[in-house]
Amino acid sequence: MSRRETTLDPAVAAELAELERALAGEPSPFTALVADVHAERPVMTPAFAAKLDARVDEARAAPPRRSWLAWSPLGGLAAALVVAVVVVSNRDGGSSPSTESSSPAGSHASSSTEDSSAKAAAPQSAAGAATSQAAPAFGSPAARKVERSTSLALSTARADVQGVADDVIATSQRFGGIVESSQIATSDAEASAVFALRIPTKRLDEAIAALSKLAHVASLSQGSTDITGSFVSASSRLGDARAERRGLLKALGRATTAQEIDALKLRLRDNRSQIAALKGELNGLRRRADLARVDVTVSGNGHKGATGGGSWTPRDAAHDALRVLEVAAGVVLVGLAGGIPIALIGALGALAARSARRRRREGALDPV
């Protein structure tokens, strides 16, 4: 009882004690009053007594109703678990892998996307965007020459670096690519592998998707450079050189003097060198367009990706458990931060409503 207690007046207490005696059937100044009032006591009829029995029996058969407040802790726990599971299932986001597509300055292609999953879809969309936006000022789209490059960083357990490195090579070969260079370094503390791959541009997206599945994707960046201009320029110069060669050969056929012939042969030699150089330049450009450069880095100090190979070790389990606890703690903190003021307001509102309801009820006893 929250109300302030006061001491009962001794005279009042004495009279109330007498009343208690009368109610107990003992002699008291109140005996007559008790008997008189008792005679006015409303008594339930046998019919109502039977009806009351039936209603109480019926109510007794019903299960006790549980207040919604009793379920609220369970609901909160379930919500926290759901959030934790969702966050942990997307825990790649925790290590902040980034996927970006960029192109060097001067290129027409540039697109950027942030997708934590960083799987097959991202490279495809990024590459597609890059290709579509890399339209040169001249030439048909089909004739465009676009050089694509990708940089992929994978992280896995140190012990799995060699296995992932082997998989990188196998994947590259599976898509018709070549390994331009590779470097694998291992030590007690960490292990890493670096690859420079050339993958047929037509199969680049598939290859990136496959490579991304080998381990946890720490980062992925893609770029594209439109080399159509260089290609057209080189082709044009090659055409000019070939036309010049034809002219020189005709002139040589018409030459009559030894001096004239020597001079034409000298120019033809220069022309051959020029044509060879231009052919080399064109081949180089064609190769850059046909074979995309893919730089793959495998670092062995990270945890295994969800799609990475190898078994799920106790260390991984401990890491996941820690992550779940971190997320759960975060959810609890956020819940408390937002929930405490709301709960306080709700509690105050409930108290006010209860007080108002009580006042309204008590008002029923007030004289009209």
Binding site: R3, E40, V43, F48, L52, V56, D57, A62
Partner: protein, 173 residues
């Protein structure tokens, strides 16, 4: 009344069974509610409703806040006051006619008529206290729990009501 037994599970392990509570309080509860409402039919409904609510909310009983009896009467009081409010909104209270006519010269009947008039002269809160004490047999502490005041305040109010009733009964008619 029914003989089935059912424990009254509370947060603090109520010791008696609901059946025992029902049996010990049924008639008293009805007498209290009928005194409050002045309407037998409504009193029957409210009495039954109070037991039904008590059964539904039996898990919420907290022995630290009073006896089961006080808890049950508190539930009945809320239901009765709700009924009074409902009736005040819908129609004027029609007092029930007295059970029996008073024939002149009958001392007992005169006495009862006087008591009835004295009770009717009390205000509703005083009449409620008389009902809780005389009809339901609640202790002052239980009355305090039911009406939501301290025990001393309940005792003082009860004393005031009894004194008023006593004086009204002793007044010459």
């Amino acid at each position: 009344m029914a003989t089935a037994t059912m424990a009254l599970p509370g947060r603090h392990q109520a010791t008696s069974s609901f059946e025992a509570l029902y049996r010990s309080c049924g008639a008293d509860l009805y007498a209290y509610v009928a005194s409050l409402l002045h309407d037998r039919t409504a009193a029957e409904d409210v009495t039954a409703l109070a037991f039904e609510r008590a059964l539904r909310k039996r898990r919420s009983f907290d022995s630290g806040r009073g006896s089961e009896r006080a808890w049950l009467f508190g539930i009945a009081r809320n239901a009765a006051l709700d009924e009074l409010r409902r009736r005040s909104r819908t129609a004027a209270l029609l007092a029930e006619p007295p059970d029996e006519a008073v024939s002149p010269g009958d001392d007992d009947a005169d006495r009862r008529a006087t008591v009835r008039a004295a009770l009717a002269a009390l205000d509703a809160r005083e009449r409620e206290l008389i009902a809780l004490k005389f009809h339901a047999g609640l202790t002052n502490a239980e009355i305090a729990v039911v009406i939501g005041v301290g025990e001393s305040a309940a005792g003082t109010r009860l004393h005031r009501a009894v004194t008023k009733l006593r004086e009204a009964c002793n007044e010459p008619s």
